[in-house]
């Protein structure tokens, strides 16, 4: 399994990572080799086996009652934010 440079650039874009042109061949090699390792699994015969959504399948998702249990932690949580204004998180502009 070998990824192309273009695929690496696409993956980097989706992950919002900036790669130097020089770094790309390194990622082509290392990510391709990871995929190669995982593709070993393709040798297992999975005919007639239903895909699982979770390793603990067979257990059931627990549900909680519809009740408000979280207090207002704004002050505490916004202490971690680089910039806030009037209770809002401030970020670099995301549309033109």
């Amino acid at each position: 399994m070998s990824l192309s440079s273009k695929q690496i650039e696409g993956i980097a874009h989706l992950a919002r990572l900036e790669l130097d042109a020089a770094e790309i061949p390194r990622y082509v090699d290392s990510l391709s080799s990871i995929l190669g390792l995982v593709s070993e699994l393709e040798r297992v015969n999975t005919d007639g086996i239903a895909p699982m959504a979770h390793p603990l399948e067979g257990q059931v998702q627990r549900l909680r009652a519809d009740a408000v249990s979280s207090p207002n932690l704004r002050q505490l949580l916004q202490a971690n934010a680089p910039q806030v204004d009037a209770g809002l998180y401030v970020v670099p502009k995301v549309i033109e």
Binding site: Q61, S70, L88
Partner: protein, 479 residues
């Protein structure tokens, strides 16, 4: 030229579920709170937190599914939809992808020609809402995460609609239904009910769908209709000019009344869905489904049919009166007081009453005239105390001044004249005062009958019983 083209529309409706707390956390969902006061560690995607599913959300989705004749999947799976945006702190939205909770249903809409059309519902899945971004500052956007994690059900239709009007009829029907079920408040200004429309055109008779554009975040019925019509015209223009429609997301701008591209093609969405390892598959027992089924209220279509059968209403009137559960209940409360004339009650409720609510921008809960008060007014028409025309005047006084019907009738002396002798005397006087018209009428000018009716109504301040006046006039004017 455009007659050669057929429009194809599918809608994705997002309805915010009316829970107290969020879908995966114990934060409140109340609208209008101070920014970021209803967003906890789970909503903010802090490391080490785990989402726990709100039971009420599952129940509400099942309720919707049963109401549209869909299958409630006994096993459904939450998946992560990955993308970056500042109002999505985790970097993914928890949604459902391959295995949604509701699959395959339908809804019938009433078309303008009176026929019904069945619209398929592909699926309805649960997901969390994102936060809210604003871009008004210079060089900055601001983020309120109160909405992050609010439960949504996304209702995806089949591409079954063929005009903007059909799309609006379908959207209104879903809007009515979710409010009947009590699973969504339907408040479009607050964003509790919104819609994306997939729109394409194809040559009439073609099998294959054209390339579609997705119109985002249409938050009023009017915008849905306008945006779709604009988009259809734009696509037909492109195709007739020999161009090709690009698959893209477009935003409707109500101020400029245009749709414009939101994301370019190179940035084609790649959401890399995969099952969320933090959440186990949701397993629903038959007993749960049956309990939800038993809790369903009378649904809008059933109620409309009953109104037609029980109250003798037309399909259109029944549809209008069942458009909200509150309106239907109001109508039935009035009918209970005037059981002899449900049609007259329908006309009054849909006419003056609804017009006054709209004019003052009120809903039924804060109407200025109650069902009991309106019932008395309609009863006074039925028992011949007043005519329908005078009833309008009485209603206006009730609405404006908060008075009872009987008080208005008495204080203004509006009681109808039903005394044949009194009306006869009025007619005699009019005949004596208008010998020429009388002679013309008797020599065949039938149209002059209206003149005598008008004169008599004028002389009685509109209070003569119309049917009695007609009978007496006919008898007296006869040659």
């Amino acid at each position: 030229m455009s007659g050669e083209w057929e429009t194809v529309i599918g809608l994705e409706i997002h309805a915010q579920l009316a829970t107290k707390s969020k879908i995966f956390s114990g934060s409140a969902t109340a609208y209008g709170a101070e920014p970021n006061t209803q967003a906890d560690l789970v909503d903010l995607g802090y490391p080490g937190v785990l989402p726990v599913l709100n039971a009420e959300v599952v129940r509400m989705a099942a309720k919707f599914g049963l109401a549209v004749g869909a299958t409630i999947n006994r096993r459904s799976v939450f998946a992560r939809k990955n993308y970056f945006y500042p109002d999505l702190p985790k970097g993914y939205q928890i949604s459902q992808y391959e295995l949604p909770i509701v699959a395959g249903g339908h809804l019938d809409i009433l078309l303008e020609d009176g026929s019904t059309k069945r619209i398929g519902i592909t699926r309805a899945h649960l997901e969390e809402d994102a936060g809210k971004s604003q871009h008004e500052g210079v060089g900055v956007s601001t983020i309120d995460l109160n909405r992050a994690g609010t439960p949504l059900v996304e209702i995806v239709s089949e591409p079954d609609m063929r005009s903007a009007k059909e799309a609006v009829a379908y959207m209104k029907k879903i809007h009515t239904l979710v409010r009947y079920l009590g699973i969504c408040d339907g408040n479009m200004q607050e964003g509790s009910f919104r819609c994306d429309a997939n729109v394409s055109v194809r040559r009439r008779g073609a099998e294959k769908f054209g390339t579609r554009a997705e119109l985002k975040n249409l938050n009023s019925f009017r915008y849905v209709e306008k945006a779709i019509n604009l988009e259809v015209a734009r696509q037909i223009d492109i195709l007739e000019g020999g161009g090709t429609v690009v698959q893209e997301t477009r935003l409707y701008d109500a101020d400029k009344d245009e749709t414009r591209s939101m994301r370019s093609k190179e940035e084609a969405n790649d959401y890399r869905y995969f099952p969320d390892p933090d959440l186990l598959p949701v397993i629903i027992e038959d007993s749960f489904v049956e309990a939800v089924r038993a809790s369903l209220p009378e649904l809008p279509d059933d109620k409309a049919l009953r109104f037609q059968q029980q109250h003798g209403l037309s399909p259109y009137d029944a549809g209008v009166l069942t458009a909200s559960a509150e309106m239907a209940a109001f109508y039935e409360s009035v009918v209970a007081l005037v059981p002899s004339d449900p049609k007259l009650v329908a006309n009054t409720v849909m006419g003056d009453f609804s017009a006054s609510l709209n004019k003052d921008n009120l809903d039924i809960a804060n109407s200025r005239v109650s069902a009991a008060q309106l019932g008395v007014l309609v009863s006074r028409i039925v028992d011949n105390t007043i005519s329908g025309k005078i009833a309008k005047e009485v209603f206006e006084a009730m609405w404006a001044e908060g008075l009872e019907a009987d008080a208005v009738i008495e204080s203004r002396g509006l009681r109808q004249i039903t005394d044949a002798g009194a009306i006869g005397a009025v007619i005699d006087a009019i005949m004596a005062a208008n010998p020429k018209q009388l002679a013309d009428y008797r020599s065949g000018k039938d149209k002059l009958f209206g003149f005598f009716v008008g004169q008599a109504m004028k002389a009685t301040d509109g209070k003569a019983n119309p049917a009695l006046l007609n009978d007496l006039l006919k008898a007296k004017l006869a040659p």
